[in-house]
Point group: C2
Chain length 484, copies 2
């Protein structure tokens, strides 16, 4: 059965088109009835089309549908579902918005997909304490819309309108993290349903303090665990005051090195930059075409500053000085909301701009992160590798964190090109490891990077993770096949 | 034997004076020889005076000496020591500067104390990447002295000149955390010797990236584990640029409420305050006397701002406006280094200033942390409780984080007063829990707060922690009796 389920695995990833067949009916009718008894008949589906919708995320990993999909309404139902599945040895796969990029929702062993999007309440908002409690169906944009008139916002922004609990599960970050941190820094507490069905509050029920030294950091353990230790059914998040004013800018550089050195100098000068994003000339060209910009086709930084009017003026002045000193030019400052939105929409549409370079192709994004001083080296290597492997790819990155993505364009009908993409991505992962970096800054390990994880944290590291996993999920049924 | 070792345990803590006797000689001569074979004869001691020096920290917990003290020179020796002790069923207690406040180094089951202070090298400094690797003997002040001319610093400042790896083990924070975060936010990687003697690099050997989504967050699990999961033998820390300019200030308030509301408004206005510390009028009076200040005897905020000259001017202006609006007065701004040092020395000497209020008495510090909106309520309650329990205590706190300390003055010869202190501290811990807070913001659980930890995280939380502990330390020999 296992080999039937993986007819076309390509190591790092496998192509979505090859949906597995024949897993339907692996769950007994009695078991499906038991699921219905928990959530109600209309909230369970075993229809092929529904299962296939839930068998993949936005990555190139092959669709691997679950045997059934259920939509619980609250954490109590999630607990009963988990206990039911676990007791019967049925794999459990948590599902949010399906916007992941590492195959985290692929049901590699079938089982029950628990779609949490109908639990979409904002349970508690404490503006004075800068905290909010959300159910797993609340997305980043929905939360920020809710907060709009309260002078608060949640800044972690991976691009997609992902669910916040899904972002916690993945350890997401994105463009604002250089200033506001990642999900690891902004989750205060989690409600988790353990495989047994028991409910765990990682920092204690109802707790929403800013810091604590009370026992082991369970919150930190579940953030980034990719659904392999339990199901997140609520998250308490740290909010931030909306900045009084915002300025965005773009700026061109003669070389990658000059753009990165500017970034280091800006950080060293303690300019509290809110976003600092790098786009290589191929990416910039694609964005110009796709989003009707007319930026210089050169290595480019997109920047954003948050603060008071007066503080911004000074930040902008210092940044310009540093950038000019490093040979930057073609500044374009955007102060009005509309102009800024246009710039950042262009940045956020980098994926689609890249896809438009080779119509009919699919995209695959790498996600390495290195110490910032090693960025110029690895960026230059990456561009050489693209050429050596005869691949088309754009580069865009959260340069302030040392994290960048190479978006590769692949013809899904060309298995030989798929192999080259895989080889390129593995080589890039190993290059990052050789430079003291990580194979994934924010997308997670999922299905495709398990070998790289071993190389990254070593045998003792992976063995320690395995022991933790076995402790919390002794039957290995929580999102099996992911991470480890 | 266990009862012999705990003749005077007072629940929350026990008084240091009652040293245990008769544990000497529990280790066979052969075992002591084996320790010497690992680290060399001069680096092992079983002398009573040395053991007693290592049997307590700065808290009121009773001295409980280990059976032997060893000083390894490197991680390889630590690994051999751990394997040796573990194999023989001998408890292992890691020891840094001994500046903890919750009895974390008390050898409640005897065993071998591993004093790590002779491993005191700064192994690697990467200024461009804002990171440094330190051995466990490197203290906070030693690191900052080393960094002085490089435009970088490590901001986490618990007051004591603690070892940085000890601070990681405790999950320390302190006065700068409102701006720069706690140890949880500033540790990038740890080298840990596991009980088996194996060496684990929590983020992978040599890795020093700013963020990652690769597997479980082992770094976060070991930060704050209080030596109960392994021995930290190196830490990779995140550094920050030294601010261009610094301004400090004090300001008096008519009420506790007014001081706390000012804090909330300052944070809501996104003023990037670097420190914001609250002192009640008793504490302020004590500081005036002890440190020759002449501040108003009233609820007071001590503030510090970091930034460019221009940014500071604006931050100061906004803060003054907010504070005046809340009824604050008696501003005193300190711009020169000497004047600032005098103010912050007074704040850091709060402990000694408190002790001077009742000569001959000892101090005990509580450490609760609540959502900031609940601070006025709990501060008022705490002052009433002090009166009700007929205790002398000062209040000082990291108000921007919701964390405060009540420093209680206790006559060590008065067991009845000790009981009242214990009852007061437990009541305060429960008050914090009732307000969605934690029993410890930064000192840790150690020996005295295990019952409060259970009430804080619940049975499932403690059971989950126990299972994690049993996985990494199946024989229960790593710093036994602490946390759980």
């Amino acid at each position: 059965m296992a080999s039937l389920l993986r007819p076309t695995t390509w190591g790092l990833f496998s192509w979505r088109g090859y949906c597995s067949r024949g897993t339907q009916g692996r769950l007994s009718a009695g078991f499906v009835e038991a699921l219905k008894a928990v959530v109600g008949s209309p909230h369970v589906s075993t229809a092929a089309v529904v299962r296939e919708q839930h068998g993949h995320d936005e990555s190139m990993h092959r669709c691997q549908p679950p045997d059934a999909v259920v939509w619980p309404q609250d954490a109590e139902q999630v607990g009963r579902l988990a206990a039911l599945c676990y007791g019967q040895g049925v794999p459990i796969v948590p599902f949010g918005t399906g916007t992941g990029l590492e195959g985290g929702v692929c049901a590699v062993q079938g089982g029950v997909c628990i779609n949490l999007t109908r639990m979409d309440r904002i349970l508690e908002l404490n503006p004075e304490d800068f905290s909010v409690v959300v159910e797993p169906g609340v997305t980043r944009k929905a939360l920020n819309a809710h907060l709009r008139d309260r002078g608060l916002w949640f800044p972690v922004d991976p691009g997609a309108d992902a669910s916040l609990c899904g972002m916690a599960a993945t350890g997401a970050s994105g463009t604002n993290s250089v200033r506001y941190g990642t999900m690891r820094d902004n989750v205060l507490n989690l409600e988790v349903v353990l495989p047994s069905g028991q409910r765990l509050h990682t920092a204690g029920r109802g707790r929403r303090f800013r810091k604590s030294a009370a026992g082991y950091n369970l919150t930190g353990l579940f953030v980034g665990s990719e659904g392999t230790l339990g199901l997140i059914t609520a998250a308490t998040l740290r909010l931030h005051p909306v900045p009084e004013a915002t300025v965005a800018a773009t700026c061109a550089f003669p070389t990658v090195q000059a753009a990165v050195e500017s970034t280091v100098h800006i950080l060293q000068a303690a300019v509290p930059v809110a976003r600092i994003e790098f786009l290589d000339e191929v990416m910039m060209d694609a964005c110009n075409r796709h989003s009707k910009l007319n930026c210089c086709v050169a290595p480019t930084l997109f920047l954003e500053f948050h603060g008071s009017e007066q503080a911004l003026a000074e930040q902008v002045e210092r940044t310009e000085e540093i950038i000019r000193h490093n040979g930057g030019s073609h500044f374009s400052w955007a102060k009005e909301a509309e102009e800024r939105s246009r710039l950042w929409a262009a940045r956020h549409n980098a994926w689609y701009a890249s896809l438009a370079l080779r119509p009919g192709c699919k995209g695959y994004s790498t996600d390495v992160c290195v110490p910032i001083s090693r960025l110029p080296e690895i960026l230059v290597q990456t561009k050489e590798d693209l050429e050596a492997w005869r691949l088309t790819g754009t580069i865009v990155g959260h340069v302030g964190d040392g994290n960048f993505h190479c978006i590769l364009l692949v013809d899904p009908e060309d298995p030989e090109e798929l192999l080259r993409v895989q080889a390129f991505a593995e080589q890039l992962g190993r290059r990052a490891l050789a430079l003291h970096g990580t194979c994934t800054g924010e997308h997670g390990i999922g299905l495709g990077k398990r070998q790289l994880l071993l190389e990254e944290v070593g045998a003792v590291g992976v063995e320690t993770m395995r022991r933790l996993k076995a402790t919390l999920d002794p039957r290995g049924l929580m999102n099996p096949g992911k991470v480890l």
